[in-house]
Subunit: 430 residues, 2 copies
């Protein structure tokens, strides 16, 4: 029977919104937002969209009007009562009231600030300026909107059954990955694929497939909305934007050198247990670990997000050993460019030597490679980063020179301050 | 929004019926039924289910209670007003009022007769006895019910996403077949897969995929219900049951020898054009053609349903040439054990020399080979045949001794009467 009311209601949509909730975002954005709200609320930041894959000419593919409609729709969103209740009442990482009342009040009153959009050389220049705790929440919806509008643009002329077969192929592909992962008895893996997902519905499907296919070995999703709806764990800790902005705000090379540790000192006050995860690569992992204060060796784990993951995991293990820690009690989270092949090989290399966990991103939620002509749905490398803080440019180096961002002179200064030696360039997959 | 009424209505179903309409059957059954209703209405026949694949122990797989519920449900069906209107008003093979008023009245009043069901050696013995025009309409629903109950039995313990991926794989497989067939510019192909379909919904999906993927090259479906709902052509002419029953009723070897021609003489009175298709293999194609009256050479085409299809197509072409007919004006319909590989090769061999058409059956609507453990969904060779007429056993020989049915002594008598020489055994695929 046709539900007439639903059909009529659907007709009323001017658009089919891609992001329909403020918590359709990564859990770590909310954790970091709370930390920023507490420690650096008045910082002015600029976030900017950067398409590292220049061959994907987004401004040619995606209609500007449609993009504006989607972004405007997000500006109209506010936290719903149920979302607020969930954030206030749910247990995250075993902890009740993860989000403090003053932060929840801020979040309940939040509307995302204005955006600036221009076209240049076949790309969109999309920037967000304002208070850090507000602007930072644009990152994930902006990326998800661009990614999904690109999917829609590529799919718009396909027939109904052609589409169904396309998704059938993508489903089969993911299921085969899950079947391969199922062979790893102590696997721990989470969905980190919100930002570069094919679409919201597809990410939601992927998460459910992981739940059924991997059971307890699937530890949760970074996406708060999906975590809430599917009643699973929301996963994530912190990201590069914290040290990048703290570093930009430093007034001297000496302060700059300390900035990454200051971030984690603030974090240390707020969080314990599995939330104490070091992300050491912002300005080079080797230097970071070498100069790290001893209390950091007591943290639970390290997330490896650039460079050769096996090499850096060995470096982390050695560092713990040098600091008198037992690596078998420590957690390494791999989260860079993962797919089944490297997950299996990293699992085999490190399982038993440390606790191992995987944050599987784009090739979980957006592997449509070779499924349409000209590989038109292949994932690509789109990021949305803090590019300036209080008028100063930010810099990221990472363990892969291909991922470095920032003005060339500042990159050189940071390399000098952080004593970066020779780095090996690695292909940025996604 | 949940449609509460629909949910409640669905709860009321004691069963999920497999066959929900009397016209969820092959079009040629209705054509033949009209012919029988006119020419041999009082013949008593017995139809019997025969599972040629003894290794598939249907009585172990399928619950007897469920089977009875499904069969009982079919006995409760009658022609709906819309179905009757469609049969009376639609154009079939370019002809209006294909079904005569007296036959439509019979069909409108019809309820399918009782069935006899027993278990023996892991198989069901399912038989139907009564007036030929009534009993014959059990064939397709009985087969479809057994096939789908077997699918349900194999699928019942699978998870939701496992199921979705199973169908994703089957969809992908069919679409790849369609993509291969799309390369044949003058292809004509129809769905003949009702009787051994995986399920009704799956057949309906396959038909729609063929419509989108092949456009005009997809000529229609043998399934009347799907033809009506999808607004496409209903396809089919006649089958072995006509010569088999006519032959069983013959009182002498001389009458027996004439029986297959008598069937077509009755058909000749009723039908013309593309409905004049010879099915020559019931008692051996070679003998049939050799002794055929000249008026049969004027018919539109020949359907090849057993033996080596290329060999018998060459025999048909030679026969037309010998009778002074132009094969390029004639139609050959291939309908035995088809899949993409032999469709492509038969198309390439005969396209341009004759008109070629394909009736694609089981490997269109039930190709789940190797998609579940132990190949539990592989199609198998289930038939439901007229085994007796007015107390006399029926016999079928065909061009493949592996497909012969009937008591051994009668098979021998028929082989002698029809002068069957050496036959080559071919594997019965489906």
């Amino acid at each position: 029977m046709v539900d007439i009311a639903t059909r009529v209601y659907n007709h009323k949509w001017k658009i089919d919104p891609i992001v329909r909730s403020l918590i359709d975002t990564d859990f770590y954005k909310l954790l970091m937002c709370q930390s920023v709200f507490r420690n650096r609320p008045d910082t002015n930041v600029t976030f900017s969209l950067i398409n590292r894959s220049k061959n994907i000419r987004l401004a040619d593919l995606i209609d500007e009007g449609e993009l504006r409609e989607q972004l405007d729709h997000v500006r109209g969103l506010s936290l719903t009562r149920g979302e607020s209740t969930w954030l206030r009442g749910n247990t995250f990482y075993g902890k009740r009231q993860m989000f403090r009342p003053d932060f929840m009040e801020f979040l309940e009153g939040l509307r995302l600030p204005a955006y600036q959009l221009e076209k240049r050389d076949g790309q969109y220049e999309l920037t967000f300026e304002g208070k850090w705790p507000e602007v930072m929440l644009w990152e994930i919806p902006a990326l998800a909107i661009l990614m999904e509008l690109r999917s829609r643009a590529v799919l718009k002329d396909m027939g109904r059954f052609e589409l169904q077969v396309l998704y059938a192929r993508a489903m089969t592909r993911l299921w085969e990955k899950i079947e391969a992962l199922r062979k790893l008895p102590d696997l721990l893996i989470a969905d980190f694929g919100t930002r570069r997902r094919h679409s919201f519905l597809w990410q939601d499907w992927c998460v459910q497939a992981m739940m059924e296919g991997l059971g307890d070995r699937f530890t949760g999703t970074s996406n708060c909305l999906i975590a809430m709806r599917r009643d699973i764990e929301a996963i994530g800790t912190n990201a590069h934007e914290l040290p990048m902005v703290y570093a930009a705000l430093a007034d001297s090379d000496q302060e700059l050198r300390q900035a990454p540790y200051e971030v984690l000192a603030d974090w240390h006050e707020e969080h314990d247990g599995n939330l104490r995860i070091i992300l050491p690569d912002t300005y080079g992992t080797k230097g970071f670990l070498k100069h790290a204060p001893d209390w950091l060796a007591g943290w639970t784990g390290i997330r490896i997000d650039s460079g050769d993951p096996a090499e850096y995991a060995e470096i982390a293990i050695k560092w713990w050993q040098d600091r008198g820690e037992d690596p078998r009690q420590k957690l390494i989270i791999f989260s860079d460019g993962l797919d089944v092949e490297n997950i299996v090989s990293l699992y085999n290399q490190f399982h038993g030597r440390v606790k191992v966990s995987f944050g599987w991103g784009t090739l979980l939620t957006n592997d449509f490679r070779d499924l349409v002509p000209d590989n038109g749905l292949a994932p690509f490398s789109l990021v949305c980063k803090a590019v300036a803080a209080n008028g100063r440019p930010t810099v990221k180096l990472s363990d892969n020179p291909g991922k470095a961002t920032g003005p060339a002179d500042e990159v050189e200064r940071y390399k000098h301050v952080f004593d970066i030696g020779q780095q090996i360039e690695r292909e940025v997959i996604v």
